[in-house]
């Protein structure tokens, strides 16, 4: 083993993933990840909002602090790290880089003008560990890949490159499923891209019993002869068979080998339930046809009609985006040769179900699940820093053909059909009729037996000889509120149990807190003394 190391980092909305590589033998030696993001909030906009509210510096600091914690767990001497590359969406990368983020928080010119924001170029950049604040060798270079367009970032570039479709003839659809799905339609190497803001339901949020993927969550369901078989993530995040239940009553029909009670349902689990519900007729949009209008998966884990509406709205964004892209690029969806699903959700979801619910086009004959391409690209960059220039070239070329859905009339029309389906139960033949009326193509029929290619066993294929370490991030911010009467309303109302008050000290765990989209603590304070912002003021003083 040599003593020259590199680190590859992927900053995702739901956590940080880092890998150490031995530069002598060009191999991964260890992996460390977190299961949460250090900033409060459940999606990037929450992170962004938090960062804007508390100031970029603080947000950057929290993020880097967490990354430093993670890389300390990589089992290498950090003083010997020569290179580090990051990848992720523009918001995460900008927070990492500590550059302007406010342009990502608002749409249109007005806010940008008023706040006098200039968009940073977000080009490929080489910077230093000192600049960023990473606790590694001072001489280490840090590589930051370019973004294509402000809402389509290096993560999208990664999936396009790692899927290998840019060099091939043919028509390919590549998407990274997340709250914001990046979608690329590649026609003989020419890329049409868009970002479909599907929403947090895709990751199990805004769903009453939804949770990010973590041990004890339901991540998939399988239709069996006598009911739905539940698949639950174990301590190592491997899916195991749980009970078989009758989804309309929750009655356990057959006990599984994981008999621990599930603690929630993940995004992939929600999609599975939606898919099976539609298939079996338990869901007849927008209604659930059980006695209490719920789908029961286990004691106290269920989906409500409101959940179904939310997931419907989110999935609708996918289908509407696919149709819009196809219309703009002037192809038919069933001409697509293969479909690539990137990212962790794209890896762990059952493609048959994605196909059934419209997350990928129903005509997808060849489906590739390519895993975490962001981390893969960060690895490629540290092994070959010259790649950064190539990436910049590719990004420059691509900037032209980005389709901004916000100004697309096509998208708006199709999305209102989606709303009609999910909120009002418009049947699909009528949907197709409307498409025809608008002069658009129809939804292609569903293929019955798609070929599914799962390139790796896990979304991170190679963990290295030291294996995987899951790092708990527990950044705590502390403050005290003057005139607090200690009624504890704020603590009671916190849905995430992120808050404690002891001896006049109020503490919040930022990694658990939902942040700016929540603020139930502040809103529920009868004395109006709870000020979320105060946490951060204190933090800054501490610096």
């Amino acid at each position: 083993m040599s003593d020259r190391y590199a680190i590859a980092i992927d900053i995702g909305t739901s956590g940080i993933r880092a890998q150490a590589l031995d530069l002598g033998i060009s191999e991964v030696i260890s992996t460390a990840i977190t299961l949460r993001h250090p900033l409060p909030g459940a999606n990037v906009v929450d992170h962004l909002h938090f960062a804007i509210t508390v100031g970029r510096e603080t947000a950057h600091y929290l993020l880097i602090e967490a990354i430093n914690d993670v890389i300390k767990n990589l089992n290498i001497d950090l003083r010997n790290v020569e290179r580090t590359a990051v990848c992720g969406n523009p918001i995460q990368i900008s927070l990492f880089h500590n550059v302007e983020i406010r342009d990502l928080a608002y749409w249109g010119e007005h806010a940008l003008e008023r706040l006098e924001i200039t968009q940073p170029p977000r080009n490929a950049t080489v910077t230093s560990s000192e600049e960023i604040g990473l606790e590694i060798s001072k001489k280490a270079e840090i590589y930051i890949p370019p973004a294509i367009k402000h809402e389509i970032g290096a993560d999208a570039l990664a999936m396009l490159i790692k899927s290998g479709v840019l060099e091939k003839k043919g028509i390919y659809l590549v998407s990274d499923f997340g709250t914001n799905a990046e979608i690329g339609l590649v026609i003989d190497g020419e890329v049409y891209s868009c970002s479909a803001a599907a929403g947090p339901a895709i990751e199990g949020q805004m769903i009453e019993k939804g949770r990010l993927a973590s041990p004890g969550t339901i991540c998939d369901l399988e239709l069996t002869d006598n009911g739905w078989k539940i698949r639950i993530l174990d301590e190592n995040l491997i899916a195991r068979d749980g009970d078989v239940v009758d989804p309309s009553s929750g009655k356990v029909i057959q006990s599984g080998n994981i008999n621990k009670k599930a603690i929630g349902i993940t995004g992939t689990g929600v999609i599975a339930a939606y898919s099976l519900g539609l298939r079996t007729g338990l869901i007849s949009l927008p209604k659930i046809k059980s006695k209490d209008h719920r789908i029961h998966l286990q004691e106290d884990i269920y989906l409500t009609e409101e959940d179904i509406e939310n997931i419907g709205k989110a999935l609708g964004a996918f289908r509407a985006a696919h149709l819009t892209l196809a219309e703009e690029a002037d192809i038919f969806l069933d001409e697509i040769d293969s479909t690539y699903m990137a990212g962790a959700s794209g890896f762990y979801v059952d493609p048959n179900k994605s196909l059934n619910v419209g997350q990928i086009p129903p005509s997808s004959k060849e489906i590739y699940q390519i895993g975490n391409t962001s981390l893969a690209m960060a690895r490629d960059i540290v092994l070959n820093p010259a790649l950064l220039d190539d990436l910049q070239k590719i990004a420059d070329e691509m900037r032209g053909k980005h389709i901004t859905l916000a100004t697309s009339r096509t998208f708006e029309k199709i999305y209102s059909l989606e709303l009609s389906v999910s909120q009002q139960g418009m049947p699909f033949w009528m949907y197709n009729d409307w498409l025809a009326r608008y002069g658009f193509q129809k939804i292609p029929p569903k293929v019955s037996d798609p070929n599914i290619h799962r390139i790796f066993e896990k979304d991170i294929p190679e963990l290295g000889k030291y294996g995987l370490k899951i790092v708990e991030i527990g950044s705590i911010l502390t403050t005290g509120f003057e005139r607090c009467i200690n009624c504890l309303k704020c603590v009671e109302n916190c849905p995430e149990n992120a808050l404690t008050i002891e001896n006049g000290e109020t503490k919040v765990r930022t990694d658990l807190c939902s942040g700016m989209a929540c603020l139930r603590c502040e809103l529920s304070c009868p004395e109006k003394v709870f000020k979320y912002r105060d946490f951060l003021a204190k933090k800054e003083q501490k610096e």
Partner: protein, 275 residues
Amino acid sequence: MNNIEELESKMDQDFVAVRYNVELEGPAITPEKDPDVQAILPKEEPYRSIAMGVLHGDIDEALNSVKEGLEDGLSPMDVINDGLMKGMDAVNALYTKGFFFLPDLMLSGDAMMEGLKESEKVLGHKSETKGTVVSFVAEGDPHDIGKNLVVMFLRAGGFEAIDLGRDVPNEEVIDAVKEYKPIFMTGTALMTTTMTAFPKIVEEMQENGLEVPAIGCGGGSVRRDFVESFPMSVYGVEAYHTPKLADSIIKDKKTWKEIRKEYSEIVGEFVPEYD
């Protein structure tokens, strides 16, 4: 020779074969044959054709009938109230029944607006409406589908809706309040970063000594507790609630405080968010 017809006339079809698909979903009849719609549609021409144009979401059909009517010397107000509005009422009836969907509403709304503009040309000024409402999407926010629905329902409900569009700076909202003196205002935001515009707008209005009876704030990321944390505001749940809220303001002189308390009663249905 025509024996089969004689036989056929003797038989009760349902005794032999039931078309359960039709029983279940109701037969496909043209919208104008629906009994509720028949009760709404005017009987006389050209009002009937005008209303049918709106019902069919057919701009040309509606506009041509409106033009013909106006050329024949009908009063523009009659064209609006007895033709266009009746068409929209029929559309609403079918929407409520679940036979019409969002895109039907949008097309019919467009047809009605075109007819309205034509009538107002002849009228020489804006037509009398129940009142003026200003609608906007918060600055920095592109999500305008919900707001478009709000505007459509307001117009269908007989209100003049001033549509400020999306990404609307706060000053523009304030200016619109000054200019139109609306009886109601609606704001929509779908991003947590943009919904903060609402309290700021209220603050600025208060600073300028301006007031509206209520500001309905809605949109995906907005929650009731947030909206009720600043004055003058009411949390809006469904776009089709908007005309009912506006009605309660002009008819029953409801204030924002009262609407907050009586939301479910005003909109006439159970609203979980107000439970």
